[in-house]
């Protein structure tokens, strides 16, 4: 019975709504934008955006599943790119030093966020709002103090370009491979290892989870480290790819990541969701964000179209989640 394939049980999975939303927006833009949207350059245009966003969106999704939120990623993306640009671009240190320092800074901010969240009863939204501004201010202040500018060029050696910031076939950012690999690791750990089960339990009922012997505090801190470091990593890849870093970038990652996660079927209040769902949600967001350039719509309407389509995607998700919850086997 449970081993058999059933269409109904597929529909009840957390990623069902996200997948159908993805297909719907893809169809929408093929209709209004033509098939060029599905050719190499078209696919690259949303896959590249999805990859950059997806690496941040998955840990944000995990935090949301566990009942927390991290908006400091908005400052961590530019912090990552500025760290590598200042150290390796401005001061000329080896790029590996810059990359490690950027990731190390991510770990540090993540630890700080995590410790404050578990040690105090302050909601993580507020804690990370604080670190968002603090990191922003630190990066701006240090950048101006050390380099007297807010935009720093970076020339990377070939190996770093090849690993973090190059194009495959002149179209696909190499970060796509990182994204796919990380997604596979996350799927395995979250959906197949016990620790994944613990994260869902934490989001469902933190007290019960702790009573069941789950190290909720340690897990929370790890998740914050993961999100801050992932954001920093994306920043590093951006700086290497675009040969430049700006203090002012990154804020849109906060909203875009949260939207992708919610479109991907994660419940805002925690306890429900899936990595594959977030993966689809991120692609859906990227398609909606980039698709308009393939259509003849007036560009001034793009924000409106993005907003409406994302709202529809979320509503569809809600419908599927209700289906999953209200499901009970047929009366015998």
């Amino acid at each position: 019975m449970s081993g058999q394939f059933s269409f109904g049980s597929l529909l009840r999975r957390p990623e069902a709504g996200a997948f159908i939303g993805l297909v719907a927006v893809l169809a929408f833009f093929v209709v209004f934008g033509g098939l060029s949207f599905l050719k190499t350059a078209g696919v690259a245009s949303w896959l590249n955006v999805a990859a950059n966003l997806g690496i941040v969106a998955i840990p944000i999704g995990l935090l949301m599943i566990s009942g927390e939120l991290d908006i400091s990623i908005g400052a961590m993306v530019p912090a990552g790119s500025m760290t590598v640009a200042i150290l390796s671009g401005y001061f000329g240190l080896p790029i590996a030093v810059g990359i490690l320092a950027a990731l190390g800074f991510g770990v540090l901010v993540g630890l700080l966020n995590g410790f404050i969240v578990v040690r105090t009863a302050v909601p993580s939204l507020i804690v990370t709002l604080g670190s968002l501004f603090a990191v922003q201010g630190l990066v701006l202040g240090l950048s101006v103090m050390l380099t007297n500018t807010t935009s720093i060029p970076l020339t990377s050696p070939a190996w770093a370009k090849a690993m973090f910031g190059t194009f495959i076939a002149n179209q696909f950012q190499v970060i796509i491979l990182w994204w796919l690999a990380l997604t596979a690791v996350y799927v395995f750990v979250i959906h197949f290892k016990p620790v994944g089960n613990w994260i869902f339990a934490m989001g469902g009922d933190k007290v019960s989870a702790r009573n069941a012997g789950i190290p909720t505090e340690r897990l929370t801190i790890i998740l914050f480290v993961l999100s801050a470091t992932s954001a920093s990593f994306v920043g590093v890849c951006q700086a290497i790819l675009f040969n430049s870093a700006q203090v002012s970038s990154g804020m849109s990652f906060i909203f875009n990541a949260i939207i992708s996660v919610v479109v991907g079927g994660v419940l805002l209040t925690g306890g429900f969701g899936s990595i594959i769902g977030i993966f689809f949600g991120t692609i859906t967001f990227a398609i909606v964000n980039q698709g308009i350039y393939f259509t003849d719509f007036d560009r001034n309407w793009s924000s409106l179209i993005i907003g409406v389509m994302l709202l529809l995607a979320v509503l569809m998700n809600n419908t599927f989640r209700k289906m999953a919850l209200s499901y009970s086997p047929k009366k015998k």
Binding site: P194, W198, L325
Partner: protein
């Protein structure tokens, strides 16, 4: 006579200057259902938290199988077999039955870093455990907890605690929010647990439920045991009065005398 599985002797608990529990002495035998009765604020929740390892007694002794025990945290209490099930506690509405059942103690298969949750086994064990308690309606371990009725969820939580080795079950108002039919599911599970030799400390407001499953009754008033008696020693009316805090009883007696 055999040793009580859990025994409290002159247990006091105070938080600073506030004395919550006074001189509590109770005994629970294996396979016995102790109904803990009392009005709100009588000290019931402090008492069960003291048993579950959340609080330490200020003075007095807690004995488990005759040996004095002191718990530093709830986990230690769980490890020796004292499990507290709060209303719907230990179940996660948006998780599947199988996954929820094994949170924290997931059965795994495979090797090294590739050790993964054995979903089939988890589902099968969970379903068997709950069906053994007589809830046969649940047969798919992939269903979400949120789709179960309140009684089924409570039953699942109890089955989980028993499966994980509980020898004393503390049930905190398990029937409070349930309808008559749902509550009877839970009461049946209490009796089933008793049949397996598990002791149950059952906190409730509903005399009917207490009468249905209780072997022993303790009434808490203002942090003291006001009455402790066995099944059949008091009538339903007497118990009701006791639960109302004893005041109704006192008033009644006064009226009779006059």
């Amino acid at each position: 006579m055999s040793t009580p599985i859990l025994e409290l002797e002159n247990v006091d608990k105070s938080f600073g200057p506030i004395h919550v529990l006074h001189n509590i002495s109770l005994k629970v035998m294996p396979g016995e259902v102790l109904c803990l009765l009392g009005d709100n604020g009588a000290g019931k929740s402090t008492l069960i938290k003291t048993l579950a390892g959340v609080h330490k007694p200020t003075s007095g002794v807690v004995r488990f199988e005759g040996k004095p025990v002191v718990f530093d945290n709830p986990k230690q209490a769980q490890e020796i077999g004292i499990a507290t099930v709060h209303q719907f506690g230990g179940t996660f509405p948006l998780m599947s039955i199988g996954r929820s059942f094994f949170v924290g103690v997931e059965p795994t298969k495979g090797w090294g870093p590739f050790k993964v949750i054995d979903r089939k086994k988890a589902n099968a064990v969970a379903i068997k455990a709950i069906q053994d308690f007589g809830i046969t309606r649940i047969d798919d371990g992939d269903r979400l907890i949120g789709g179960l009725s309140g009684g089924e969820r409570q039953s699942l939580a109890i089955a989980r605690a028993v499966h994980l080795g509980a020898r004393v079950l503390i049930l905190d108002e398990p029937t409070a929010a349930l309808g008559v039919k749902q509550a009877s599911h839970v009461l049946r599970i209490v009796l089933e647990a008793k049949k397996r030799g598990i002791s149950v400390i059952f906190i409730t407001h509903q005399v009917t439920h207490a009468m249905a499953v209780g072997d022993q009754y303790a009434v808490l008033i203002h942090g003291s045991v006001a009455a402790n008696f066995y099944r059949g020693e008091r009538t339903r009316e007497e118990i009701t009065d006791l639960m109302a805090g004893g005041e109704a009883l006192a008033k009644l007696e006064a009226e009779v005398e006059n």
